[in-house]
Symmetry: C2
Subunit: 220 residues, 2 copies
């Protein structure tokens, strides 16, 4: 029988008994876009395995600025909830459902049992951690060392996957990059001047993805 487990690469080879625990003891739930999946003041009770949708994990500063750390997509697990399941200390990041999200919720106790019983599950969990940590390393490298125009170009491309239109305010883009609105606005104007994009209120239309990609791939 196929279950949602099969959507996770790392879990395909789980032995039958472990599979049964995982499927039997977890609950598939759906939350609407905009839901705060975890965040300061919310004690997470479950490890989430994302079946559909996207969760955006972001950091807020006291001064009101924010930065997007990474996104958790379908087929991945939201280990921040685990990390904070173990409650090292109060964390300042929060996870927000960007779309409607469907996820399997594994309660704390079940999670612990699975880690204990299954080497496959352990591998899955630890490699999820590794991925997030390397994601964070990447973010740090970007904000510390990369030019804004390059980062903006990269972000426009990732936010526009199939289509050529990015629906986002300059403010939202600035939050993606941990920068200020004015900086993003000015960069976008420069892109427009080069006929790479057209700008209208709330949307950026990519005219010359090739040129943008070339900038995004600039090294050093």
């Amino acid at each position: 029988m196929t279950t949602w487990i099969d959507r996770f690469e790392g879990l395909s080879s789980l032995p039958a008994d472990v599979r049964d625990i995982l499927v039997g003891q977890s609950q598939v739930l759906k939350v609407p876009a905009g839901t705060v999946v975890f965040g300061p003041g919310k004690i997470p009770e479950n490890l989430l395995l994302m079946l559909a949708g996207t969760v955006r994990v972001q950091q807020l500063s006291e001064s009101g600025r924010e930065i997007v750390l990474y996104r958790v997509n379908a087929g991945e697990s939201c280990v921040m909830t685990t990390a904070c399941l173990l409650a090292y200390e109060e964390y300042s990041a929060e996870g927000i459902a960007e779309t409607e999200v469907e996820a399997a919720a594994i309660p704390r106790g079940v999670f612990d049992e699975l880690v204990s019983r299954s080497e496959t599950f352990r591998r899955f969990v630890f490699s999820a951690y590794s991925k997030r940590i390397t994601d964070l390393f990447f973010v740090i490298e970007e904000i510390a060392f990369q030019r804004m125009d390059i980062r903006l170009a990269q972000r426009l491309l990732t936010l526009s996957r199939e289509t050529d239109v990015v629906k986002a305010t300059h403010q939202k883009l600035a939050a993606e990059l941990g920068s200020a609105r004015e900086v993003v606005s000015r960069q976008l104007q420069e892109f427009q001047r080069r006929d790479w994009v057209t700008l209208t209120r709330g949307t950026i239309t990519l005219l010359d993805k090739y040129a943008i990609k070339k900038l995004a791939e600039t090294e050093a």
Copy 2:
């Protein structure tokens, strides 16, 4: 009998059989200051539990700049090695022994067995992960949103714990903060102008820790 295990808070309540495995199957080793404990191209074979000394974990950019991510001190574990034990992908961070380092090395297989058998050990491992992830969140917040003078003041304080003297070149301090030497030099000159420090080649002497602390604690 007391062993090095007792130096780790989280491991004090390990059952006797698990203790025996941990002590029996791991090896205490010593490496001199400057050793690259892990890094690109080095496949880590062990989880390291730090008994004495400090490991500095830092990130290098292609352009040659660098930034210190965090330090692993005695009584903590170096989970980056675990993360990359599971080898998610090539990581760009490296760990360097800042002092002579004494550590217990737990081989991969033993680590796996311990995680499987002991809930205490699991807690220990996962809270180590949580701590590192929150460390990284903190670093991101700092570099994205915090002013350099404040960050420099903070760093000078943490690097001068008991003494009032920081032995470091401006270049090293810049690497700590992911900034440029000139920026650090100028900030230090400003601190000197205010009679907070005196500067000589390779050392910064803190004259007015109180004033520095006050700056370091500035919010927003």
